[in-house]
């Protein structure tokens, strides 16, 4: 294994931690744990916590997966490990 691959792996792990933190906050955080607090606010006719649980979290998941793919492609090039 080339020495620079461990740096690549660390950069990947940092990205994964970041994405999974956001993943946790929008679903388990906003959608479940903080739902009662957020329900005091509203988004159109949606209570905000309810919106996160049934709509918002899914949109954020989508964004996260594409963001991860985009950043990883950049990392692949930066560390010269692309296919």
């Amino acid at each position: 294994m080339k020495a620079d691959n461990s740096e690549y792996w660390k950069a990947n792990l940092r990205l994964v931690y970041f994405c999974l933190t956001v993943w946790f906050i929008v679903s388990f955080g906003c959608g479940l744990l903080l739902v009662d607090v957020l329900n005091n606010f509203s988004l159109g006719g949606y209570k905000l916590g309810f919106w996160f649980a049934q709509q918002g979290s899914i949109y954020v998941f989508l964004f996260l997966v594409f963001f991860y793919a985009f950043r990883m492609n950049q990392l692949d090039k930066k560390f010269g490990v692309q296919e």
Binding site: F61, D76, E83
Partner: protein, 577 residues
């Protein structure tokens, strides 16, 4: 044209399409049969994954489930989509890089053990077989409700259709059929949803309609109105009603997420794309196509519930039974709706109170099945729903059957029992095993074991507690040893099965549950369906503890892990092993 004739035409036209695709995409090599030659475009694979993933339950039952669970139904929405984030970041790219054909094969390689591979095959078969029963039932039900043929005959037709394209085309045929099936099912789901949203809120986009004001009620939002109507009749408030305790919802969501990421028939779809980069983006496309249904489902659920309430409990007082609408009469005949005039006044009293409620049965599936009739949509829309429901059930069944048959022909036969099997003979064997798997699935669909109701939820728990942790640890830890992985998988799936059996009966046979199904006995208030998350934690803990005792995996395995952690040097799936 008469509805039944129209439905026959639409359904059989869709079947003809699947057959045509099967003939065009027939497989000539094992690589085509198992991974579609690893040449599927990531967007197309995303579409096929969406159809693979969205089952009869997603299409027919989920909106109805949400309609009656309200906010509590969120566990399904978040759980069944959030899993793709895990799949995209923790599993798919690395499994694709390793470049083998099946999930047990990866586990066998990483844990340098035939035993680990066999344990993985066992976990895969248990999880996939429980899941496929639900699909076969879905096929039978869709036929009997829409085409008025016998449940059994409907199931035989479904078995035959799957047999043609799965055996002929393997993964290649299944992939292209799933793409067609996705188009059929998403169209069938969206059209009624758009019309209903327009009728209720004037907005054609259901996701926005759900957050809009109702037509004719300029000062009240649809969800607020629904909350009000439900609480007036004694039901729980829609937007806050919970599914068990907070901890239960948390564990349930987590179980569905990691179960989703651990389902072999979904994972193996990512073996079919050309590169690691494609595997990453393909997970995103899969989620796009899934979100197209999953963000509409809560709107369908809430709006259907609203329509149901305004029909049964109009502002003018209780509805006269004789004045009930035509769709009510139609669905009464199927037994899915049932009215019992308890106080004999000829009016329908629909309340949350079991003593006085006269709507003794409202099947949740009605929320999707009867939706077009309730919204007075034209007949061709109803015919579409039939084709869509069948597409959802058939596409998932095909994916599951391939996961089962490839684990038998490739992992057990070629990998363990008869390693000298030639390419040609393995291809023949995989077709034979696929045929056998269809018969077993058909048999189980005809004679559903007592546990059929709980099967799909159980499959998630099993995948969550066995396969997902084994794969994730294999990638993110270089040290986990083969003994540790085997012990982890067995204890994870073991404790999950044990918990489910002790609350729902051994093999779900009523009366054999030794702790009772009652909530007070649940561990920390976690329902059996939500227990997969706990099983997964046990799996992780056992594997790390055992690795401490056995010492880490050998150096050449650690090198292999280093190798599949980087994308470079992947190439196509390797056939020489």
């Amino acid at each position: 044209m008469e509805l039944k004739t129209l439905t026959y035409i639409v359904v059989f036209a869709s079947f003809a399409l699947y057959f045509g695709i099967a003939w065009w995409a027939r497989a000539a090599t094992t690589k085509e049969f198992y991974v579609a030659g690893a040449g599927i475009h990531p967007v197309l694979n995303g579409m096929a994954t969406a159809a693979d993933w969205m089952s009869a339950a997603s299409f027919i039952s989920m909106a109805g489930l949400i309609a009656f669970l309200g906010y509590g139904g969120s566990v399904f929405l978040m759980g069944w989509t959030g899993g793709y984030v895990l799949l995209a970041m923790l599993l798919a790219p690395y499994l694709r890089k390793h470049g083998k054909f099946t999930v047990p094969e990866f586990i066998g390689d990483r844990y340098y053990s035939k035993t680990a591979r066999i344990v993985a095959v066992a976990c895969l078969i248990i999880a996939s077989l429980t899941y496929v029963i639900g699909q076969m039932k879905g096929v039978g039900v869709a036929f009997s409700r829409f085409l008025e043929v016998d449940y059994d005959l409907g199931l035989y037709i479904g078995m035959f259709v799957v047999w043609v394209y799965a055996v002929l085309g393997g993964m290649k045929g299944i992939t292209y059929t799933q793409i067609a099936q996705y188009c059929v099912l998403i169209f069938a789901y969206t059209v009624p949803a758009v019309f209903i949203s327009l009728q209720l809120t004037g907005n054609p986009i259901p996701q926005i309609g759900l957050g809009s004001k109702m037509i004719g009620e300029e000062d009240i939002y649809l969800l607020d109105k629904l909350d009000q109507v439900l609480t007036d009749t004694g039901f729980k408030e829609y937007t806050t009603q919970s599914l068990g305790s907070g901890l239960n919802m948390f564990a349930y969501t987590l179980s569905l997420m990691i179960g989703t990421a651990g389902l072999p028939h979904v994972i193996m779809r990512f073996f079919t794309v050309p590169t690691v980069k494609d595997a990453r983006s393909s997970a995103g496309w899969a989620l796009v196509f899934i979100a197209a249904l999953y963000t509409v489902a809560p709107a369908v659920g809430a709006m259907a519930r609203m329509n149901l309430m305004t029909t049964l409990v109009p502002d003018t007082g209780a509805l006269e039974y004789e004045a009930r609408p035509q769709w009510f009469k139609n669905w009464e005949q199927t037994g899915l709706l049932k009215f019992e005039d308890k106080n004999g006044d000829g009016k329908i009293q629909y309340t949350a109170d079991k003593e006085t409620n006269e709507m003794v049965k409202i099947d949740r599936d009605i929320m999707v099945l009867a939706n077009p009739e309730i919204a007075q949509l034209p007949n061709w829309v109803i015919a579409l729903i039939a084709a869509g429901g069948l597409a959802a059930a058939l596409s998932t069944a095909a994916g599951l059957l391939l996961a089962i048959s490839s684990s038998i022909s490739h992992d057990l036969m070629k990998g363990v029992l008869t390693p000298n099997l030639s390419e040609k003979n393995e291809l023949f064997a995989s077709r034979l095993v696929m045929t056998g798997a269809i018969f077993v699935a058909g048999y189980l669909g005809l004679n559903p074991p007592g546990f059929a109701a709980g099967t799909v939820a159980l499959a998630f728990g099993l995948a969550a507690s066995s396969i997902f942790p084994a794969l994730m640890m294999g990638i993110f830890s270089k040290r986990i040893s083969s003994t540790a992985a085997i012990a982890g998988m067995l204890s994870g799936i073991g404790i999950t099965l044990f918990y489910v059996f002790q609350h729902k009966g051994i093999m779900f046979i009523p009366g054999t549950s030794f702790l009772g199904g009652m909530e007070p006995d649940w561990f920390l208030g976690i329902s059996p369906n939500a227990f997969g998350a706990v099983g997964a934690i046990v799996n992780f803990a056992v594997a790390f503890a055992v690795t401490k005792m056995t010492g880490p995996a050998p150096a050449h395995i650690q090198d292999m892990v280093d190798n599949f952690r980087v994308p470079s040097g992947s190439g196509a799936a390797d056939t020489s092993h």
